[in-house]
C-alpha cells in the first residue's frame, strides 16, 4: 500500500495520496499529468495526507463503498466506490478549507489575464465553474475553479490549479466550446448530479507559482434566456458577500477582514447575469484589454 503513494505539488500545498483503488491513481496520473510529482525524502514536508480506500470488508466489498481518510481520520460518510476519484477532490477541498488559516480562502473560481485576476464568486449552481472553464479554454490562465487563495500579507491571489469540476449540462457545453479539452471519467448520480473533471491547461499548471493581484470581483448568475448583463455593485456590499462565501473568514478575525477590504478596495466589483457563454467570454476579454 505504501509503495503506491503519490506525492505532488498542488498550488501552494504538497499533497500525498495513497490508494489501493486503481482508478483513483489513474485519474490523478491522467488529470494531474503536468504537475510536479515527488519521491518521498527527508527534505520533503508534506502538508496533507489523503487515503482513498475501501473501509472494511463489509462496506468495501459487500456494499461497494469507499472512504476518504484524512491523515487517518474519517470526516465523511462513505460513498459508492464509483465515486472514488471525486472523493479525493472533495476530500482535498475539505482539508484545505478546514486547515489552512494562513491564507484567506473564498469559495470562488479564479482566472487571470494580462497579470490581472478575475474572481468569480457565487453559490453552487450559479455557473462559476462553467464560466471559469470557458474562460480558461479561451486563453485565460486558470488559478482555481474552487477557491480564491489570498496571501494575508500582500493580498496577492495564489494559484491553486486543479482539474475543473463540471456538472450536468456544463460538461457538454464546455466539450463543444473547447473540443481540445481533456476530460476525465464521467460520474453520474453524485449528490451534485453528473460530474466530470476537465484537465487544466498545461500553461496554467506550469505557471502555478505566478501570483497576481485581483482586479475584478464578479458574482455570476446563469439564467436561461437572459441577456449578458454586467452591473457595478458597491464595494461594501462586495466585502460582505465575499465574507459570506469565505471558508475561513471567521477563523481569521481581523486578518481576514483587513485583507478582504484591501483586496476589494483595489478591485472593480460587478454582478453578472448570462446565458450565452460566447458573449460572456467576449465581454470579459474586452474588460481585460
Amino acid at each position: 500500500m505504501d509503495s503506491k503513494g503519490i506525492l505532488l505539488q498542488i498550488g501552494p500545498f504538497t499533497v500525498r495520496l495513497d490508494s489501493c483503488i486503481d482508478v483513483v491513481n489513474q485519474s490523478v496520473n491522467n488529470l494531474y499529468a503536468d504537475y510536479n510529482f515527488f519521491e518521498e525524502a527527508s527534505d520533503i514536508f508534506t502538508d496533507f495526507y489523503i487515503r482513498i480506500d475501501r473501509p472494511n470488508f463489509y462496506r468495501g466489498y459487500l456494499r461497494s463503498q469507499v472512504q476518504c481518510y484524512v491523515d487517518g481520520i474519517t470526516p465523511f460518510k462513505p460513498l459508492p466506490i464509483a465515486q472514488s476519484y471525486p472523493f479525493f477532490e472533495w476530500g482535498l477541498n475539505w482539508i484545505i478549507a478546514s486547515h489552512v488559516h494562513y491564507y484567506l480562502l473564498i469559495h470562488a473560481a479564479v482566472v487571470e489575464k494580462n497579470g490581472h485576476v478575475l474572481i468569480l464568486c457565487g453559490e453552487p449552481g450559479a455557473g462559476k465553474s462553467t464560466l471559469c472553464a470557458a474562460l480558461a479554454s479561451r486563453g485565460w490562465r486558470l488559478f482555481s475553479d474552487e477557491m480564491a487563495v489570498i496571501d494575508l500579507q500582500t493580498n496577492e491571489v495564489i494559484p491553486c490549479v486543479r482539474p475543473i469540476s463540471l456538472k450536468n449540462k456544463a460538461i457538454d457545453l464546455i466539450g463543444k466550446l473547447a473540443p481540445d479539452a481533456v476530460f476525465g471519467e464521467s460520474y453520474p448520480e453524485t449528490t451534485k448530479g453528473t460530474l466530470s473533471h476537465m484537465k487544466p491547461m498545461k500553461e496554467s499548471v506550469l505557471r502555478g507559482n505566478e501570483r497576481a493581484f485581483c482586479k475584478w470581483v464578479v458574482f455570476p448568475q446563469y439564467r436561461e434566456g437572459s441577456k449578458t448583463c454586467l452591473t457595478s455593485i458597491e464595494k461594501d456590499q462586495t466585502v460582505i458577500k465575499l465574507a459570506k462565501n469565505s471558508f475561513n473568514y471567521n477563523a481569521l478575525g481581523s486578518l481576514g477582514f483587513n485583507s478582504l477590504c484591501d483586496m476589494v478596495e483595489e478591485s472593480h466589483c460587478y454582478e453578472f447575469e448570462y446565458s450565452d457563454l460566447n458573449e460572456a467570454i467576449t465581454l470579459f476579454d474586452k474588460l481585460a484589454y
Binding site: D47, H101, A251
Partner: protein, 361 residues
C-alpha cells in the same frame, strides 16, 4: 511499545529538541500535534522559549495557522462568557467556569492555544432549574430531546443536556458536579463551590488552583474516549508546573484530593504526567500518594493501559495494543461511572445505535 517517544512528546518535554529535526520529522510532528489538539499550544510554547524563528517556514505556517484560529476562538470565548455573565447577573449568582474556559479566564499557561467546543459551568444543584430557565429565556435551547437521553442526563449524569444558543450556535454544559451521580467516587460539589475563587477584573469565578488540577485529573481518568487524552495530560502538566510556585501547593493538593474523594485520579495524574511528560513533581509528593494505590499488579495493568491510551491520537503513536487499551479503558470508564444495572442496558443501546448508524460516535 515504542521505546522512543513520539516527536510531539519529546518537544513538549523539551521544546529545544525541535531544533534538530529534519523536514520529514517536522511533517510528522505537525500531524501528531494537530491530531492530539496541541499544535497551537506547541506554537505558543516555542514562542515563550524564543524558538519560533528556528522553525522551517513550511512547518511554521501550519503552526501559525492554528495559532490564528486559537486566538480567534479565545476572542469569541470572551464574548460568549460576557453573554453568559449577563444571564447570571439576572440570577444574582456567581458564574463558576470549569476546564478550558476556566484556564482562559484565569489566564493559565494551559490556556494558550487550547481549543474547546463548549463552555462548562458549575452551579449548585438546587439552582439548576433557575439557570436552565434563564438560559432558555436568553436564547439558549435544550438539545438531546429524546426521552432516553433526557433521563440519562437528568437522573444519572452530573450535568443537564448541553444547551445551544440559537443564534451563535455555541454550547454550554451546565454541571452540578464533576462526576456523574451514579459514580462511585462522586465528590461533594458544595466543597468545590465553597473554595471557588473570583478572577480579578472579571465577573467570573473558577475553581481553586488545587481543585482545577483535581477536576482535570478526575475528568481525564474517568474518560472513556481518548481523542483528547494527550492534550488533557498536557493540561495537567502545564497546570502543575504553573502552580508549583504557589505556597504549600503540593501539600494542599494532596489534602484536597482526600477531602474530595479523588485520590485515585490525582494519583494517576501525578504518575502519568511524570512518566510521559516528565513533569517535575517533588519526590515526597509522589511517595505520599503511592499510599493511595498499593496493589502492585493492578498498578502494572493500569500503567500498561494508560501509557498506551494517553499517547497522542495519531497512528504513528500507536502500537499493536493501543486500540485494545483504549477499548478496555472505555469499558472501565463506564464501569466506574455507572452501576451494572444501568451500565449494561446503556451500552447495549449505544452499541445498537452505532450498529444501525443512528449515532456517529
Amino acid at each position: 511499545m515504542n521505546t522512543q517517544n513520539p516527536l510531539i512528546v519529546s518537544v513538549l518535554i523539551d521544546p529545544k529538541t525541535s531544533l534538530d529535526l529534519n523536514l520529514q520529522q517536522w511533517d510528522l510532528l505537525i500531524r501528531q500535534a494537530r491530531r492530539s489538539g496541541v499544535l497551537a499550544r506547541f506554537g505558543f510554547m516555542l514562542e515563550r522559549n524564543g524558538l519560533l524563528a528556528d522553525v522551517p517556514s513550511v512547518a511554521l505556517k501550519h503552526i501559525q495557522s492554528t495559532q490564528t484560529y486559537a486566538y480567534q476562538m479565545a476572542m469569541s470565548l470572551k464574548w460568549e462568557i460576557h453573554c453568559i455573565q449577563k444571564v447570571f447577573d439576572t440570577l444574582e449568582m456567581p458564574l463558576v467556569l470549569l476546564k478550558g474556559t476556566a484556564y482562559t479566564v484565569a489566564n493559565n499557561v494551559a490556556a494558550a492555544g487550547r481549543f474547546f467546543s463548549d463552555v462548562d459551568i458549575l452551579v449548585p444543584e438546587d439552582r439548576i432549574e433557575d439557570v436552565e430557565r434563564a438560559l432558555i429565556h436568553w436564547g439558549w435551547k435544550a438539545t438531546y430531546l429524546d426521552a432516553y437521553d433526557q433521563r440519562f442526563y437528568r437522573e444519572w449524569m452530573h450535568e443537564i443536556p448541553p444547551m445551544e444558543h440559537m443564534q451563535r450556535h455555541t454550547t454550554i454544559d451546565v454541571h452540578h458536579n464533576i462526576l456523574p451521580r451514579t459514580g462511585r467516587f462522586c465528590p461533594n460539589p458544595k466543597l468545590l463551590l465553597a473554595n471557588a475563587v473570583k478572577v480579578s477584573d472579571e465577573n467570573a469565578w473558577v475553581l481553586s488552583s488545587e481543585d482545577r488540577v483535581i477536576h482535570s485529573a478526575t475528568h481525564l481518568f474517568h474518560e472513556g474516549e481518548f481523542d483528547h487524552g494527550f492534550r488533557d495530560l498536557s493540561d495537567l502538566d502545564l497546570l502543575l508546573k504553573e502552580f508549583n510556585s504557589l505556597d504549600n501547593f503540593w501539600e494542599n493538593l494532596l489534602k484536597r484530593a482526600e477531602e474530595l474523594n479523588q485520590q485515585i485520579p490525582l494519583y494517576y495524574a501525578l504518575r502519568y504526567t511524570t512518566l510521559i511528560l516528565k513533569t517535575p513533581i517533588p519526590r515526597e509528593v509522589l511517595d505520599d500518594c503511592k499510599l493511595w494505590y498499593p496493589n502492585g499488579i493492578q498498578r502494572e495493568i493500569m500503567d500498561w493501559l494508560f501509557c498506551r491510551a494517553l499517547m497522542p491520537n495519531h497512528p504513528s503513536c500507536d502500537d499493536y495494543w493501543t486500540g485494545f487499551a483504549r477499548w478496555v479503558l472505555y469499558i472501565r470508564s463506564h464501569w466506574i461511572k455507572m452501576p451494572v444495572r444501568i451500565l449494561v442496558p446503556h451500552l447495549c443501546r449505544k452499541g445498537w445505535l452505532r450498529l444501525t448508524e443512528q449515532e456517529d460516535h
